[in-house]
């Protein structure tokens, strides 16, 4: 279960685990619950996430699409390791997310 913090209109979600195929179904439900509650600004905190795989990347894209379809919003990815930062850059995810 992710740690979720709401402050000043921003929801910060810290999965605390790797975002990989075995975890995607649970994480997707958590993200969709937040989007369906009307939140527009999400920060995903990767400080305890060492790895993501293509299923996890697909999940992030799908969450971004859900947010767009529900009227728009912004997703920021924070506290990425150097390896994850490089991966996201090469996979062109920086076109879709604010990476801090």
């Amino acid at each position: 279960m992710s740690l979720i913090e709401r402050k000043d209109g921003v929801v910060t979600i810290k999965p605390g685990i790797d975002i990989v195929a075995s975890q995607c179904e649970t994480l997707k439900q958590e993200f969709l619950e937040i989007i369906n509650s009307g939140e527009k600004k999400l920060v995903i905190d990767f400080s305890e996430t060492e790895m993501i795989d293509s299923s996890g990347i697909g999940l992030l894209i799908s969450i971004r699409n859900s947010l767009t379809n529900s009227g728009g919003g912004e997703i920021e990815l924070s506290n990425l390791s150097d390896d994850l930062h490089q991966l996201f850059k090469v996979m062109r995810l920086d076109n879709h997310f604010t990476i801090s």
């Binding site: 075995s22 790895m51 894209i61």
Partner: protein
């Protein structure tokens, strides 16, 4: 049929797993432990873990369709500064020749990044004829 087994070989490690997503995580933990036990090898372990994970995802999800009655065999070996990974599933294979020539996935695609990432991390990518065994090789220091 065993759900999960791992065996150390003289130069590497081999895992046999039934096709569940949880078993991918168990296999990755074994490969991590093996690589961590080789401090003299200077390699970006993130890249190795990522490539093995993608290869196992492809075998379990696409090859064996997450049918836990079907198995995946994965080996990692290091011989003379060459790291070799092989992953075999029990599926019918796929048209890898066509797949290798596809352009990279669109930046908003929710799938199709697995093979791209293996090339990105400098692996030589080969398949057996039917496409149900993947071979990845990479020179290491």
């Amino acid at each position: 049929m065993q759900d999960f087994t791992s065996t150390h070989t003289p130069n590497g490690i081999s895992c046999t797993l039934s096709s569940t997503l949880a078993n991918i995580d168990r296999a990755i933990a074994c490969f991590k432990e093996f690589l961590d036990s080789k401090p003299k090898i200077t390699v970006n372990k993130f890249e190795i873990h990522y490539a093995i994970r993608e290869a196992l995802n492809n075998a379990v999800i696409h090859g064996n369709q997450k049918n836990d009655l079907l198995q995946v065999e994965c080996t990692l070996e290091i011989n003379r500064k060459i790291l070799t990974i092989s992953v075999t599933d029990e599926g019918k294979g796929f048209d890898w020749r066509n797949q290798l020539h596809k352009k990279q996935a669109g930046s908003d695609a929710t799938s199709g990044r697995g093979l791209e990432s293996m090339f990105m991390y400098g692996f030589d990518v080969q398949f057996n004829d039917s496409g149900n065994t993947l071979y990845l090789t990479k020179k290491i220091m």
